[in-house]
């Protein structure tokens, strides 16, 4: 059975101005991604080289890119790729990282050693080489991109969780759960996880822009989105090459990235505070 803690958490979240801001921003971005066709003033891939790198104007609020495409429309559509890839990759990497980290920290020592071996080995492989190898095996595509991002992010997350789990594994309340016969998965997920999730929650939300940039970097290895599909990452890179000609592009693509990160980070922090019973109501002095 469930106890009415969840609605309370939501209320706590909304009462925290930063949490509320995070929630609003994230909702807006998700809405933007979903309703892109309704919102975008132009076709994001329609090009007009004669109108390249135009400064912002009434016709093009955020100007145009180096092929004369409307930046605003590309950014609105770009939210789709950026958010789907970032959220899927972070979600997957986060969940797997958490699981492996918990197992490594709580399980028998040999299992810990084996997992640490995997984490460290994965982390040692040069990303480009690794990506190239995976593409060769699995072929290019968004799935492969996500796989690469997930594999390279897991070790960091898992290690964070592992270290924290190690310091809690013989806490009294864990022993108490063992004593009432709670199964290991239950102890991991119900009792350890909520107590080690705080820092990771922050890291996950902060990694969203990292993944968005990574997507753009890797799309040059033929991973991820194919041109001309817009994504914030590739708009930023386009902006980079044109940075001296027109900085509008970098700024226009940088701003939603910053805002989305703000949104996710504050939502993450707000959620974490809201879920922690000790913070849920305590007002700062």
């Amino acid at each position: 059975m469930r106890w009415p803690a969840d609605s309370r958490a939501l209320r706590a979240l909304i009462r925290d101005p930063m949490g509320l801001m995070g929630l609003v921003l994230v909702t807006l971005f998700i809405l933007m991604a979903v309703a892109a066709p309704l919102l975008a003033p132009y076709d994001p891939v329609a090009l007009d080289v004669r109108a390249k790198l135009k400064a912002p104007s009434f016709a093009h609020w955020l100007g145009t890119d180096q092929l004369g495409r409307d930046t605003l429309s590309r950014i609105i559509y770009g939210a789709r790729t950026a958010l789907t890839i970032a959220l899927t990759a972070i979600g997957l990497a986060g969940s797997i990282g958490i699981l492996l980290g918990l197992i490594a920290g709580y399980g028998p020592r040999w299992l810990d050693a084996a997992l640490v071996l995997i984490f460290d080995a994965l982390n040692s492989l040069p990303m480009m080489m690794f990506a190239l190898a995976i593409i060769t095996v699995l072929g290019p595509g968004t799935g492969t991109l996500i796989l690469v991002v997930v594999l390279v992010s897991i070790p960091g997350y898992a290690r964070l969780i592992r270290a924290q789990t190690l310091s809690l594994r013989s806490a009294d309340f864990i022993l108490a759960e063992q004593a009432i016969g709670a199964s290991t998965p239950r102890i991991l997920l119900h009792h350890l996880l909520p107590n080690v999730f705080g820092p990771l929650c922050i890291v996950l939300s902060m990694d969203i822009p990292v993944v968005i940039m990574l997507e753009a970097g890797l799309s040059y290895l033929n991973l991820g989105v194919k041109p001309p599909t817009p994504s914030w990452g590739n708009i930023l890179y386009d902006g980079y090459t044109a940075i001296r000609t027109s900085s509008t592009l970098v700024i226009a693509a940088g701003a939603p990235l910053v805002l989305a990160t703000l949104g996710f980070t504050f939502l993450g922090e707000g959620l974490r505070d809201a879920l922690d019973p000790r913070f849920a109501t305590a007002r700062p002095r």
């Binding site: 309340f173 759960e177 119900h190």
Partner: protein, 325 residues
């Protein structure tokens, strides 16, 4: 048939030393937490475990449920030897434990309701709100406590939640580490009455660890006295309280403060140097504080021997009359 039997249980924890000690296994020091612990517990019986603070009671209790590893000895529960984690996992279906630190043993991010429902759901029983309320009522807490978090409880309230959790499943054996510490005498009475009631109805066995001698005297059938990692005396409650045989038990029972300001004691019943864990006394562990110490106590370790029927004492000079010869 005995429910729980423990033979020769011992636990050493390595002590962290410098680099040199790590390289040289001989120089590696360890702390002996307890050793040579043997006793049995029958179904429906309550064993009170009292003793010096820091003598290893909590650690022993944890070891009995496999929550802490042991270095030596055997544990049999319901006739089965318990050694591997799997053994203990099955054992824990029939046992329950109340922890010494009530608040720290409640998972901090769960509501009390969720915590109380947990033993039920784990063992596949339904846990409706009414059942939770009933469990709370049993330990004298109102139903609305179900929505609170552990840190919102007072010490005594947390203790009561711990009791409710332990008793939820009608286990065969309950190991209770200080089940009533921090409770006022009335609530303490309620809890103990509840425990006694369950015992008679369900033939439960208890191992109760407590510093509250008055309470132990009331609820236990036998008591065991522990000093510095050794059981120094085991025997039926009434005669043991009436006439403790080991010098430590004697001073322990004599030290009990009486609830009457007119009978204040001016002197300590036990004096002497508190022994070091690092250089634990060879031979008798109580030698440094024993008023009757003899040379042999410093050379030969006494064994736990049966002095009179069912009464075991670990002392060279213990005598059935209580006098030390």
């Amino acid at each position: 048939m005995t429910l729980l039997s423990v033979q020769d249980l011992a636990l050493d924890l390595p002590l962290r030393g410098g680099l040199l000690s790590a390289l040289n296994p001989k120089a590696r020091r360890s702390l002996q937490i307890f050793a040579d612990v043997s006793f049995t517990l029958n179904p429906g019986e309550t064993l009170g475990l009292v003793g010096e603070s820091g003598s290893g009671k909590t650690t022993l209790a944890r070891a009995l449920l496999g929550l802490t590893p042991t270095t030596h000895g055997q544990i049999h529960f319901a006739g089965q030897p318990r050694r591997t984690p799997a053994d203990f996992a099955t054992l824990r279906r029939d046992t329950a434990m109340m922890f010494q630190d009530a608040i720290a043993s409640l998972s901090p991010r769960k509501t009390i309701g969720a915590l109380l429902a947990e033993p039920l759901t784990i063992h596949g029983q339904p846990a409706p709100k009414a059942k939770i309320a009933q469990m709370l009522a049993l330990v004298g807490l109102p139903a609305d406590f179900a929505t609170r978090y552990p840190h919102e409880l007072s010490g005594g309230q947390a203790r009561r939640v711990g009791v409710a959790r332990a008793l939820a499943l009608n286990p065969k054996l309950v190991i209770a580490d200080e089940p009533t510490a921090g409770l006022d005498v009335s609530v303490q009475g309620e809890i103990l009455n509840l425990m006694t009631d369950l015992k008679t109805r369900l033939n439960l066995s208890y191992l109760i660890i407590s510093h509250n001698l008055a309470m132990v005297r009331h609820v236990s059938d036998r008591i065991a006295v522990m000093y510095l990692g050794r059981l120094v005396e085991i025997g039926p409650t009434r005669p043991t309280f009436a006439q403790p045989l080991h010098p430590y038990s004697q001073s322990l029972i004599a030290s009990e403060p009486l609830p009457d300001p007119r009978k204040r004691r001016q002197d300590l019943a036990i004096k002497g140097e508190i022994p070091s864990l690092l250089n634990r006394p060879t031979a008798c562990v109580f030698q440094s504080r024993c008023p009757h110490v003899q040379p042999i106590c410093r050379t030969d370790p006494p064994t736990l021997r049966e002095i009179s029927p069912a009464r075991f004492v670990r002392c060279h000079f213990a005598h059935p009359t209580g006098a030390l010869s």
